[in-house]
């Protein structure tokens, strides 16, 4: 007869290993991380596990963080640059619970910063670790759908397909297309996807003083940029890489340097631009900077009034 297990015979509810993953799994992930750090930009395969969060929602970043986090760490989690976006809140609560760790919204106080789609504006310091959530680690995937082929391209350093795409883009549009997930060459060897950060953030990777770890849970790859590594965005000599800029300053803090979110205010197409990096913007406002919409309801986290 079929063996019956009662629920009570399972481990008592609510007790998980520190940071959720068991020690063997963490060890396996750390080995992959070490390999990735030793070969900057190379996608190291790892035995990704099913996590309590669905694939596509940050399992790679979560597994990387879970493998490196300790009780002395200070953990920050952002999505689209902000600490209070729903998925960032969800992941931060997860680690607060399973890793019993101090969490923060202040970039400069964090030892581990897990992110989806942005790098903070504040310059990262030695000893800080950025953990990126990556949906598609393979920069060549849209051009060559076979893993067996893309693996060979990386091994042979044959990135012609990617340069072809740049060429076609200039031939078609007169400029290199692509505003986010803009491919980079790491240490002049491996072509890498920096994850869907806007190209605005690419320069922050070059010769950074922090360690950058990239986790793709569903695709089961980890890659890394160690500190002080050359990272070059692909371009042509006569069509050099450039970053986004806005005519407007941040409506709340007046920053002209930061990456901006576009906020639609009403049906008439009125809009304002605010810093995507919520911590950066808050710091500036605290320091006394004020933009044209300072005092706006967004500032207080409530519903904004439509423009009169």
């Amino acid at each position: 007869m079929t063996a019956r297990m009662t629920m009570a015979s399972n481990r008592p509810r609510g007790t998980y290993n520190y940071a959720y993953l068991d020690e063997q799994t963490k060890r396996m992930i750390r080995r992959a991380i070490l390999k990735a750090v030793a070969i900057p930009g190379y996608q190291a395969p790892f035995g990704s596990r099913e996590m309590p969060v669905p694939y596509g929602w940050g399992t790679g970043g979560i597994q990387v963080t879970a493998s490196i986090i300790g009780p002395d760490d200070v953990y920050k989690c952002i999505d689209q640059g902000a600490d209070d976006t729903t998925n960032a809140v969800s992941i931060r609560r997860f680690f607060a619970r399973v890793a019993d760790v101090v969490t923060t919204e202040k970039t400069r106080d964090a030892t581990i910063i897990q992110t989806r789609h942005r790098i903070p504006e504040a310059m990262l310091q030695p000893g800080q670790i950025m953990v990126y959530q990556v949906p598609l680690p393979e920069p060549l995937r849209h051009l060559e759908h076979r893993e067996t082929e893309t693996r060979a391209m990386h091994a042979y350093e044959e990135y012609g397909l990617k340069y072809l795409a740049l060429y076609e883009s200039v031939a078609a549009y007169g400029r290199i297309a692509g505003g986010a997930d803009y491919p980079v060459l790491v240490d002049e060897r491996y072509l890498m996807s920096p994850s869907p950060i806007p190209k605005f953030d690419n320069p922050k990777l070059h010769q950074s003083e922090a360690l950058h770890l990239f986790g793709a849970g569903r695709e089961k790859r980890i890659y890394a940029i160690p500190p002080y590594t050359d990272v070059r965005s692909l371009d042509f000599e006569d069509y050099p890489f450039d970053v986004q800029c806005w005519d407007e300053v941040c409506a709340l803090c007046a920053s002209a340097e930061s990456y901006k979110d576009e906020v639609i205010l009403d049906d008439a197409g009125n809009r304002m631009f605010v810093c995507s990096d919520s911590d950066y913007c808050a710091d500036r406002r605290q320091a006394g900077h004020a933009g044209p919409m300072a005092g706006h309801a967004l500032d207080q986290g409530g519903k904004p009034e439509p423009l009169a």
Binding site: E50, G56, N87, P135, G178, D181, Q244
Partner: protein, 374 residues
């Protein structure tokens, strides 16, 4: 107009979960569903969740189904996530389906076979008329026992065909006694080993495999399968603890196994033989086992010397996308905010549009004046 954003924060999540829990419970006037009821009376759902959840635990699967409100893909995800937290203390010996305690065993290849065609508890010959009496509870009379028990062991079709060496034998991946590839521990690698392929298919989404198998029968594939055998029943699980050094039986599980036969004309190295595809699931699930067997055979084209021409024969396409937990996660992740990247796209399109308009703008008097001044 309200400002729409995902900056809901802590409160929104808390409220959302509360509402979710209320919806799961449904109307309070209706009795809460119990795990035992799901396990006993929705057993096909339980079997599927165990198979694709890669975890044989009927109660756990039933609980997951309750928590997921009947969404089986969600329930499979719950089981998989729980499985991650379990420690592994070893691997069982391979199950011996040849010694299965048969409940059902049929072959389409032969009219009669040693041990007989055993119909078993099948829907196949029911008329699909909704039985409205089931709307109320109806007592089901106990099933009548046969006069004589079945033979202890019913030989497999494979063993029957083996006498004339008419059926290929399955090649093990390696002889060195190393562990087979385990997808729950290591990422997929291509070209896929037989172990990896079968494991991926066994945990793969039934619907996806069903469609691929169907397409291959209709021409998008070339296996022309014949059902060699389907058997369903209990198999014993044996485990050899290190301390004992000999196998002990730790329980029994129900499995469904399918061998699909395809023909093959032979080559310089191989005599003409039937080739086969293999399917296996936990519990009773013939649709899955059959679809899996058809897809398995289609993916073996390289070993057999066939030219792949269809999606069902493309192992990267099939194996990468057969996992419904991965598929569901990635498709649905599009609900997450992507506005930072969208802002980058907006910028790009706006610039392109500016260029486009500028290229078509008529020359202004100011341009003419500037040109004259040069």
């Amino acid at each position: 107009m309200a400002y729409v954003s995902v900056k809901g924060g802590e409160r929104a999540i808390g409220n959302a979960h509360q509402w979710l829990d209320a919806l799961r419970r449904g109307a309070l006037s209706v009795p809460e569903i119990e795990i035992d009821q799901i396990r006993e009376q929705l057993s096909f759902a339980v079997d599927r969740v165990m198979s694709e959840g890669s975890c044989h635990d009927a109660e756990l699967a039933a609980l997951a189904i309750k928590q997921a409100r009947g969404d089986l893909v969600e329930a499979i995800f719950l089981v998989r996530a729980f499985r991650t937290t379990l420690s592994r203390f070893g691997a069982s010996d391979p199950i011996d389906t040849g010694s299965m305690a048969i409940q059902r065993r049929i072959s389409a290849a032969f009219k009669d076979i040693p041990g007989g065609q055993i119909l078993g508890p099948t829907f196949d010959y029911t008329h699909r008329l909704i039985d409205f009496e089931l709307a109320d509870t109806r007592s089901a009379p106990p099933a009548v026992l046969a006069d004589e028990p079945l033979a202890d062991q019913l030989p497999t079709i494979a063993s029957i065909l083996a006498h004339e060496a008419l059926l290929e034998t399955a090649e093990p991946d390696s002889d060195d006694g190393s562990d087979p590839h385990d997808l729950t521990r290591e990422p997929m690698a291509f070209p896929a080993s037989r172990a990896q392929r079968l494991q991926a298919l066994a945990r793969g989404d039934e619907g996806f495999l069903l469609s691929l198998a169907y397409a291959s029968q209709r021409g998008w594939g070339s296996t022309h399968p014949l059902c060699g055998e389907i058997r369903m029943g209990e198999v014993a699980i044996a485990f050899t603890p290190e301390e004992l050094g000999f196998p002990i039986e730790i329980g029994e599980i129900v499995t469904t196994e399918c061998q699909m036969l395809s023909d093959y004309t032979g080559s310089a190295d191989r005599p003409p033989q039937f080739t086969f595809g293999y399917g296996l699931s936990f519990g009773h699930n013939e649709r899955k086992a059959m679809a899996m067997a058809i897809v398995d055979r289609a993916l073996r084209h390289a070993e057999i010397g066939e030219t792949p021409a269809h999606a069902v024969q493309d192992e990267e396409f099939v194996l990468y996308h057969s996992d419904n937990v991965e598929a569901s996660g990635f498709v649905q992740h599009l609900k997450l905010p992507h506005y930072v990247d969208f802002q980058a796209d907006l910028q790009f399109i706006r610039k392109l549009k500016q260029d486009w308009l500028a290229a078509r703008a008529p020359a202004t008097p100011a341009d003419a004046g500037a040109a004259a001044a040069e």
